[in-house]
């Protein structure tokens, strides 16, 4: 089973691109794929993520390229934690330290342009979202995960 996790707040314009992509994938009803949508990562998700063979986290980003898809091992080291934000690298580290297990994590990031309050995802970001959906679907359908 592969988990696809859309992260973001649909009321913060481009921050909603993660949920947008995850919803689109959910609508495809792909076999062996479970979709989850959340405004932010939480510590207790570790348990859930460890139950998946792989986890694809789809999130908006504020810097970097327009669209990217990569395994977490190649991600930059950022370990931020606050009441309201848990960095995905930290989540991965905690899984290793607390449960002795690795989460096979992949990140799909789409760079947002506008994070103000609103419900509209920018046109350019939507175009990148379509590309992201194609790449994630190709990944989900690849033989490695059959």
């Amino acid at each position: 089973m592969i988990g696809v996790v859309g992260i973001g707040n649909p009321l913060r314009c481009d921050d909603g691109v993660g949920p947008y992509i995850a919803s689109a994938i959910d609508d495809m009803h792909l076999s062996g794929v479970e979709v989850m949508i959340t405004q932010q990562l939480h510590l207790e998700f570790i348990d859930k993520f460890l139950q998946y063979d792989k986890v694809v986290i789809v999130d908006a980003c504020v810097t970097g390229c327009d669209f990217d898809f990569y395994p977490i091992k190649k991600a930059q080291e950022r370990r931020v934690a606050s009441s309201h934000h848990l960095d995905v690298n930290l989540l991965s580290d905690l899984a290793k330290r607390l449960y002795g297990k690795e989460i096979d994590l992949y990140i799909c990031s789409v760079r947002g342009e506008n994070f103000e309050i609103g419900e509209v995802v920018s046109t350019k970001v939507l175009a990148c979202a379509q590309k992201a959906i194609e790449v994630i679907c190709a990944f989900l359908r690849s033989k490695d995960h059959a």
Partner: protein, 481 residues
């Protein structure tokens, strides 16, 4: 943490870790290097209220949870209550019970994260320990059992929401008139199973903080200890009441200023003033004026205003807390942690009582109504303090005016004062040790502020700490990454 000193000799710490939002702390020094002033700035603009204008008021209980992923239930509850005032209806008994239960779940979840993962590194690993490991990972490394227990406690809180509404966050089931989903018998039993472990973990946390308080009396008692007024909601007998209480204000000596106030009258007692260096407003107790009227909300305030707790284990700890100051208000900012844990214990005990109420699985969960009044005000205690939602509508139910008075905004003056007090105690001169700045940050962490509620935030929490000399020149800047 990057410690950078530029040509102007500026110290900048960015971000202040383990809280949320986007903010900056400025510490101003006198000629001799001692601290003369400190300010906690919030630099982002608040726009959610404007965004809601023009929408139907009935949409608000579903929209407002999006303000924050940590206290969505409090927003939804306050919003549903405001809608009920507009409609002139009351929720059903079971609808209220379910809302109360889901509200407890959020409180437990939020408090558990604050204590076990964000604040405990200071107590358990040391204020001056390596900042690279003085965090959640360091706790996981050295205290894996405690860390896991903290995660499970959060999971319990989130599971309450999930088992009632099917969602862990942004519960959509809270509606004007009650709830949209009943609780099944299977889910009721499943939640009850959690109670003993949740109580045990909370008691472990209480043991940790009490031992720390005992071993570090001088530091704990002097840490940002200053008198203020306090606001919290209480039940009819003055008991701690987070879901449906009336307002109680007390002064710094514990004298009750106003009691059993209908939250709908909040504007008669609370005013706000803008300040030029922060987008957060400065709320104050109106009868005392801006200079003397600042008050605190949140766990410390709630236990200071309460006459008692509702449950036996929490009452025992409450009596211990009260005995520390001879029954007078405890002004020590550090005691936010202890009171947070006492509240969490009370919440878990109350959850057990609710889950044993035979009516909790009733399907009579909602009353219905339509627009009847142009104005509605709702209130609930969010994990960080008293929350007000105030809506004005036209006769079609469209929102003309929205005012959200959130806990972090109300604590803003006190956070400033706390930063100043701690900076005065630990900062001297531009070359400040990281541990001292961690203490300044910790003063903010005591309040566990949610700046994304009060303003907005994207992702992590950038805060800058800037130190200025007596001529106003920035002399040191520290940043975290």
């Amino acid at each position: 943490m990057d410690n950078q000193i530029d040509k102007k000799n500026t110290i900048l710490i960015s971000p202040v870790t383990r809280i949320e939002g986007h903010a900056k702390i400025t510490i101003q020094l006198q000629a001799d290097g001692s601290v003369s002033d400190a300010q906690f700035h919030v630099n982002e603009f608040r726009g959610f209220e404007k965004f809601c204008e023009g929408r139907l008021f009935t949409e608000m209980p579903a929209i407002t949870p999006r303000i924050c992923g940590i206290c969505p239930v409090s927003h939804s509850v306050a919003s549903a209550k405001a809608c009920e005032m507009i409609m002139g209806i009351k929720p059903t008994y079971t609808g209220n019970l379910l809302r109360r239960l889901i509200h407890i779940g959020q409180n437990v979840s939020s408090h558990a994260l604050s204590f076990f993962h964000l604040s405990s590194p200071d107590f358990l690993l040391g204020w001056d320990s390596d900042p690279a490991t003085r965090n959640i990972l360091g706790i996981a490394e050295k205290f894996p059992d405690l860390s896991l227990r903290g995660i499970r406690l959060r999971k319990f809180g989130q599971e309450i929401s999930e088992r009632i509404t099917g969602k862990k966050i942004h519960s959509m089931g809270i509606l004007p008139g009650g709830m949209g989903f009943p609780l099944s018998e299977a889910n009721r039993k499943a939640l009850l199973v959690w109670i003993p472990e949740a109580i045990q973990t909370t008691l472990m946390g209480i043991d940790i903080i009490k031992k720390y308080q005992e071993d570090n009396k001088e530091m704990v008692n002097s840490f940002a200890n200053f008198p203020t007024l306090y606001l919290g909601t209480v039940g009819p007998d003055g008991e701690n009441e987070l879901y449906d209480g009336k307002l109680r204000f007390i002064d710094a000596d514990g004298k009750i200023l106003k009691d059993q106030l209908d939250p709908a009258k909040y504007l008669e007692y609370i005013a706000e003033r803008s300040i030029d260096w922060s987008y957060l407003k400065y709320p104050y107790y109106k009868p005392y004026g801006f200079e003397k009227g600042f008050y605190r909300v949140g766990p410390l305030a709630r236990l200071n205003v309460a006459s008692k707790m509702k449950t036996p284990k929490a009452q025992k700890e409450f009596l211990n807390f009260k005995s520390m100051t001879g029954g007078k208000p405890n002004h020590g900012t550090f005691f936010f942690h202890y009171t947070r844990l006492i509240e969490m214990l009370s919440s878990i005990e109350e959850a057990e009582q609710i889950l044993k109420d035979p009516q909790i699985t009733s399907e009579n969960i909602q009353t219905f109504g339509k627009w009847n009044n142009p104005e509605g005000i709702g209130c609930s205690e969010a994990p960080r303090g008293t929350l007000f939602h105030h809506y004005g509508t036209d006769d079609s139910g469209k929102l003309l005016k929205v005012n959200l008075l959130i806990a972090t905004g109300q604590n803003n003056p006190s956070m400033n004062r706390s930063v100043l007090e701690v900076a005065k105690q630990y900062v001297n001169g531009k070359d400040v040790k990281e541990g001292a700045l961690n203490r300044v940050e910790a003063a903010i962490r005591c309040y566990d502020p949610c700046l994304s509620c009060s303003t907005h935030a994207i992702g992590s929490m950038p805060i800058t700490i800037e130190i200025k000399d007596h001529q106003g020149q920035t002399i040191n800047v520290l940043e975290r990454s």
